[in-house]
Amino acid sequence: MNKDAFLATLIGFGVGLLVTGIVLFGPALFKNVKFPKLPTIAFPQLGKPNVSPTPSTETLKDQTPLSHSVSIDSPLSDSLETNEKILISGATSAEATVVISSDTEDVIVLATDDGKYAGKITLVEGQNTISVTAISKDKKESSKTVTVYYTAEEL
């Protein structure tokens, strides 16, 4: 048998075997292969109106307004103060009426449009428990307290 003819037959057999293998086992093999996702580019189509996607229920839940609450940003709890008058500040609902109340006095301030509030209160020597109550425009209440210690003595 001619040497070239034998080689051609062998190559042909090998190629046939490979094609058969791909046809039979190819789909199963490619299932497990993860291809990188290519970015999709959307081209505007003339004459078609832009349709915004409908938000999912999860997104709608996130967008519902938060319930009325109040927070005290300053001073920190259990802090040691050396000034008799200190500034109490924090955040609440927009334009809420805020009562900053100590054992001896009440200070009333209005929260700003972005819900920030601040008011000065006088401390007594020793422990001071300060209560902050915010009443929203729709007459809902939220309160928080902070404890601070004050002395004018040099420690």
Partner: protein, 236 residues
């Protein structure tokens, strides 16, 4: 014989200004770190609680969270507000079960507070109520309030109760019992009346009216004047 040239002294590589700067920065960083560690170990602090035990040089204070060991420093100051005046006392005046606030330097390593000031202070238990007035009873000076929390409170208006009227940006004005009317929103600070649930003896009342920040003007009262009816007299 020719004199051999003495080998020139090898000079040590001199420190460049850049190296010097790096050294300076390293020194500063280490000094800041040691200072921070020192501060972390000893911090000024205050604790409030009741005296559990007392010796000549120590106290133990029970707080809500834990029991603290207190070391009494030589130059300790003890004060108490008596009849509205700050009165200086001595450490002998501090007794077991006294409510105190201790100021000093807290050593985190030894878990001990080195006391420099003790304030004998009874904590006030105040009640705060926000709500709408539903009834004002002039006969016994009480106000019924429907709290925002859903509870109904009876507020005792005392002779010492301070009343304020919220006028928005104009601040607060003085008021009285007569300025409290049904549907007004009020904020009450007071003390709980013993053995009576949801009853508060008021120390301070702030009237917000309808929360608009304006004090409503009193409506003019029309007094009915009785005019004598003129009877026609018949003259003979």
């Amino acid at each position: 014989m020719a004199a051999t040239a003495s080998p020139s002294a090898t000079t040590a590589p001199s420190a460049t200004p850049k190296d010097q700067k790096v050294e300076d920065i390293k020194d500063r960083v280490s000094s800041i770190a040691s200072k921070a560690a020192e501060l972390q170990q000893k911090q000024q602090r205050a604790i409030a609680g009741t005296v559990k035990t007392k010796t000549i040089s120590t106290l133990t204070i029970d707080t809500e969270k834990k029991t603290y060991k207190i070391e009494l420093m030589d130059e300790i100051t003890v004060v108490q507000m008596l009849k509205g005046k700050r009165t200086e006392l001595t450490i002998d005046d501090v007794a077991k079960d006294d409510p105190v606030v201790v100021f000093g330097e807290y050593d985190t390593n030894l878990d001990i507070l080195k006391a420099k000031l003790i304030v004998i202070q009874t904590p006030k238990t105040l009640v705060r109520v926000t709500g709408k007035i539903t009834e004002v009873t002039k006969a016994d000076y009480t106000i019924t309030v429907e709290g925002i929390d859903g509870k109904t409170y009876i507020i005792d208006f005392e002779t010492a109760t301070k009343t304020s009227l919220w006028a928005g940006k104009d601040g607060v004005q003085k008021g009285g019992f007569s300025k409290l009317t049904p549907n007004d929103i009020i904020y009450v600070v007071g003390t709980a009346v013993a053995k009576k649930e949801n009853r508060v003896s008021a120390l301070r009342i702030t009237n917000f009216f309808d929360l608009s920040g304006t004090i409503p003007k009193p409506s003019p009262t029309v007094e009915a004047t009785s005019k004598p009816t003129v009877k026609p007299t018949i003259e003979p």
